[in-house]
Amino acid sequence: MNIIIVGCGKVGCTLVEALSSENHDIVVIDSRPEKVSALTDTVDVMGIVGNGVSHTTLKQAGIETADLLIAVTGSDEENLLCCVIAKKSGHCQTIARIRNPIYNEEKDFLQKEFGLSMIINPELTAANEIAKVFQFPSAIRVDTFAKGRVELLHFKIGSNSPLCGLKLSKFHATLHCNDILVCTIARNSEEVIIPNGDFEFAANDIVSIVAKRRDAIDFFRKIGLEKNRVSNTIIAGGGKISYYLAKSLLMSGIKTTIIEINQQRCEFLSEQLPKATILCGDATDKELLSEECIEKAAGFAALTDLDEENILLSLYANGISSAKTVTKVNRINFTSVINKLDLGSIIYPRVITAEYIIKYVRSMNNSLNSNVEALYKLEDGKAEVLEFLLKENSAVCNIPLQNLKIRKNTLICCIYRNHQVIVPSGQDCMMPGDSVMIATSGYNISDIKEILED
């Protein structure tokens, strides 16, 4: 694919390095000549020095033939404008990094009106990643796809789980969980099953489900998997990531304490997060930490601005408590040293951002030249999730799903309508304008109609 990347900051560089090894034609644009030449000297990409918002510069970079433009400069406004101009001067898809929380609230509007394929907020993404560590016990693996909108939760069925020997047709009635959709089952680490009503769960199956987070937590409690979910957390530092994290944790009912040094910021946080405990103080103050009973905390996140402080805090927390710790590290050059330390989970916001975008690029690359909007590989490529955008009057529209004759090993795993994820049940139906995710294994589906039985 022809990809243009505007902005050679850390995310830009991480992206370029990862994407260039996947045989794409990449052009980078930055107004700082030294950044551009540093990249072009080491990676096989073309560099252009100039303002990415300028139409002339974009033309020079070949916007007319580009498939994708990724705007990751430091400024949200520049990124948005760049994407709009790119959209107008070519036929490319666009991805913009937007980090201002105010714009983030209007994400869906911006995305729709400006025709952006994806908006990525590094802090929000990082916060979600951290939230996963606290919300889901280690027995559960979380995959996100469809631009981060849908989560696929994988878990293993224990030998004394209530699921053992349960038929899928009785699944919802027995467990009272209508909003859970069983997507794939990996058995014997070889075959991947997309189950129908007759399917019977067995011990050691790895099941993946699609569900909203709250429903999922409820479901895991019912099957007895919620054991090691944390109950309370302390967050050091009150930056943007902390804000998003606290919001997400509070929503799933985890008690949250934030320690922030700046009085004004504390007031803001307290205003925005009335349920959280906001403390104004230095997070590196040992007295303060013991006052807040760090020894008894179940979760600890070090999210201050300084990598060194975060590392120290996590080491300390690990030493005196059994809390699950998460450390934010900005600098990526010293990963090998940092990995040697006993830090628990480490979060690199920039790498996460880059990985999200790369995932998107891959899915776009997979779906090139077909009706498929995006294609995600699951379980080492043994199953696929395809995204289709329903046009007017498709043969599958407006019919309740239970009346559709769908092929074996094929499943409609979610419907995305008006910026809402719907976990479909038999009564739901697909409507024109929806995005639909189809999970399948063993078939090569290139059009939505092909999910019906011949």
């Binding site: 260039s20 000549p33 072009t40 080491t42 990676v43 096989d44 990409v45 073309m46 560099g47």
Partner: protein
Amino acid sequence: MKYSTIGYILGQVLKFEGIFMLLPFLTGMIYHENEAYSYLIIGIICFVLGCLITLKKVKHPQIFNREGFVAVALSWIVLSIFGAIPFVITGEIPSYVDALFETISGFTTTGASILSNVEALTHTSLMWRSFTHWVGGMGVLVFIMSFLPLMGGSTINLMKAESPGPSVSRLVPHVKDTAKILYRIYLVITIIEIVLLCIFGMPMFDSLTLTFGTVGTGGFGIHNDSIAGYSPVLQNIITVFMILSGVNYVAYFYIMTKQLKEIFKVEEIRVYFGIILGAGTFIALNIRSLYGSLGEAFRHAFFQVGSIITTCGYATTDFDLWPETSKMILVLLMFIGACAGSTGGGFKISRLLILCKAIPKQLSLVIHPREVKVIRMDGKPIDHNTLRSTNVYLAIYFFILLVSTLLISVDNFNLTTNFTAVASTLNNIGPGLDGVGPTRNFGMYSDFSKFVLMFDMLAGRLELYPLLILFMPSLWRRK
């Protein structure tokens, strides 16, 4: 320094040199010359040696600036050392130093010869001599890069060191594709010229060898009187192709991608054609009295101007007999050289432009000491590093010029001979004036002087830095 990476690159160079030698071998087969076998044998030896060296893959191949420069310099030296052997084996150039001079002159597209009677050479050796121009014109590493998946993005450092011009950049995102595009353009120009020359009555062998010399801006002829013996039409065709070969290849890329307007935005190309027109017209009028008609004067004037400014070095007439003003203009053209990013040598018009633009800036600083002024080229600001390295380039350039002239003066030839000999080798032109004029050759210099001139040729082709870096002690010191 990563010796293994450099070794690997040198191995590849040898392999390709072995393949290159097949062309003279085939030529020799056609003309039933026994000399062809020496090329075959040396070619096989080079190929096998190259294969042995490249047998061991490099583990973490990365070419930094330093490795790029050293690899390029050593590649060219290795290329020349092996390329000279067949001349000695066939007995056509008995002295190895002479053979080496001839080969370096070939690869660096200089075209300066030590042979007094070129016509005595076999077709096989003539083909090899001319083919070295073609290989050296666009660069042997660029050639290799377009074939082999070398080492990712850092290969740009090889291209930077080998391609002429103050700033080298990609035409398309991948270095490999850039190299391919350059060679594709090069090949198309070559084929068009061969076909045209053949159509207008030149024998196949002549048109092949002369085309290699023209598009590579080399200048080895196959006759003692260079191009003078061919018809005016053929001379004019060669004039046009010499001038076209001196144009920055970006222009052809723009034609390929149908961005014709962009070509006129490149200042360098405008200035290049301006200089050729101006100098050609002036000389034509200046030498009017020497030739029968104005048309003939124009033909000779433009041929010589094109030949000198592109650093090709063919001649249709003995310009040593021209009036002093015309000779002086030719000497000045030697120092200007072709466009950056072409196959030509010399100081390069883009460097000259940068320097000319820096002069008013510096003068203006005297009047307004606090003035901040950015120098622009093609509407884009020139960054400070480019400006500084251009200044240093000029300094080194003149330093080498003067020291070389001093060194070869031990042979006791006159100043014009020595000075133009150095100027024409350093700028990769070929003929100079007086003792090394178009009808003479470099054979009279001592071996010592020949080594100095060989150094100048390599330094000129690789644009000084790669070769000079070899003399930095800190490069070789192991840490």
